[in-house]
Subunit: 232 residues, 2 copies
Amino acid sequence: MSAVRTARDRARRELTEEILAAGRAQVAASGATSLSLRAVARELGMASSAVYRYFATRDELLTALIVEAYDALGEEVERAAEPRAGASRRDRWLAAARAVRGWALTHPHQYGLLYGSPVPGFHAAPERTNGPGSRVPLALLGIFAGAPEPRTPIAAPPPPLSPVLTDQARWVGALVSPAVPEDRVVRGAMAWTSVFGLVSFEVFGQLRGSFAPAEELFEHAIGRLADALDAP
Amino acid sequence: MSAVRTARDRARRELTEEILAAGRAQVAASGATSLSLRAVARELGMASSAVYRYFATRDELLTALIVEAYDALGEEVERAAEPRAGASRRDRWLAAARAVRGWALTHPHQYGLLYGSPVPGFHAAPERTNGPGSRVPLALLGIFAGAPEPRTPIAAPPPPLSPVLTDQARWVGALVSPAVPEDRVVRGAMAWTSVFGLVSFEVFGQLRGSFAPAEELFEHAIGRLADALDAP
DNA sequence: TGTACATCAGTGAACGCGCGTTCACTGATGTAC
DNA sequence: TGTACATCAGTGAACGCGCGTTCACTGATGTAC
């Protein structure tokens, strides 16, 4: 067991990567439902049975592709949300939201795989997808950790949270440190779901005939969401 | 061509309805991708080729099911959004939003068919789905036609709309009468996408481990959205 | 009211396709002595 | 450094399945005279 592995091992890693790449391309081209082991094998010029040396089943390959996609999106959003010199919280929020939209528009089928209707007859193992799937919400949450930076104070006080909602929000808020206060978590969740609602509508074609192309609506919306988030 | 049709005609109508019902049940049970003409025929105890007397192709059946689903949801939302004695705009908005969520939770697969990732290799004819698909947004828009009912005035003035966004919002606002002012349309669009973002996240399982069950988050969110909508 | 013809619904077999997965096998690569 | 054995990657054929769609057909229903 040396750090430098054998030729066999290197070949294995490479082929695994090639299989993933072919699967990724297939999902990108025609969606997750039509992902097929046989087509992947054909693409790589190997017998369909050979793929089974690398992924025990079609569902395993699909799970790996989901994890990959969550990680790809997560990485982009994390980078955008990162604290930077001269970047306010609002800037980071806007950048993160744009990263979500940008990735979704360039990878519509992978976006659909993650945030669209679940693939029928397939349930990804939660212990494999939960972590990667949490990267985006955690990155967004991280932006609002710590004290708020008030900008445009709102006259009306925010409506109180119900006890259940308070508990949920406290639990979520404690996932980052320093913990985010409950009302902020709830506002963040609303902003988070808004962004994905908007992006899903755009990617899945619901805005055709009204706000498509949705660039401007999106920009306006995330600006307003930022205003709401920045309130004390 | 009398109003009362022949026996053959009655039988045709009935069987068409039965085929739709079987298809609906199949979508409800396992999602749109696994809808199969053969399975529908099996369900009805007829030869698979017989279905072709009623629907020229699988895609036609799927289109019909999409139209049906849009109409079912549209009807519920329209009813909820209807002006009623003693019901404020806010009440109507809350009822409409709850109708969306309620329908989605009881028909998750049909909801996925309408608002999830598009079925691969299938494109519904826009001239058939556009009308039914507009019912929900138009119902929501209708709630806010005419003058606003200010409740909790917001200190900060709303951010101005870009020229493109103004045009889009004006066009959308003119779909109902009296026309809805641009800024209100944009706020409505944000509320609309928020509701569907929240519902999609809940139905597609993205809130597992944080805000699920999402009843309370949803109630809170639509309340806050109502506050924003009711601003002058 | 009865007959002749046209229309239509439903059948069953078939075509051609692609899929996931298994299995016995061969040949190459790795390992222990 | 060389040999003997164990491990593993990849093959090709096969199983069993379900699908959408077509086609020539039969028998029932509708229509015109």
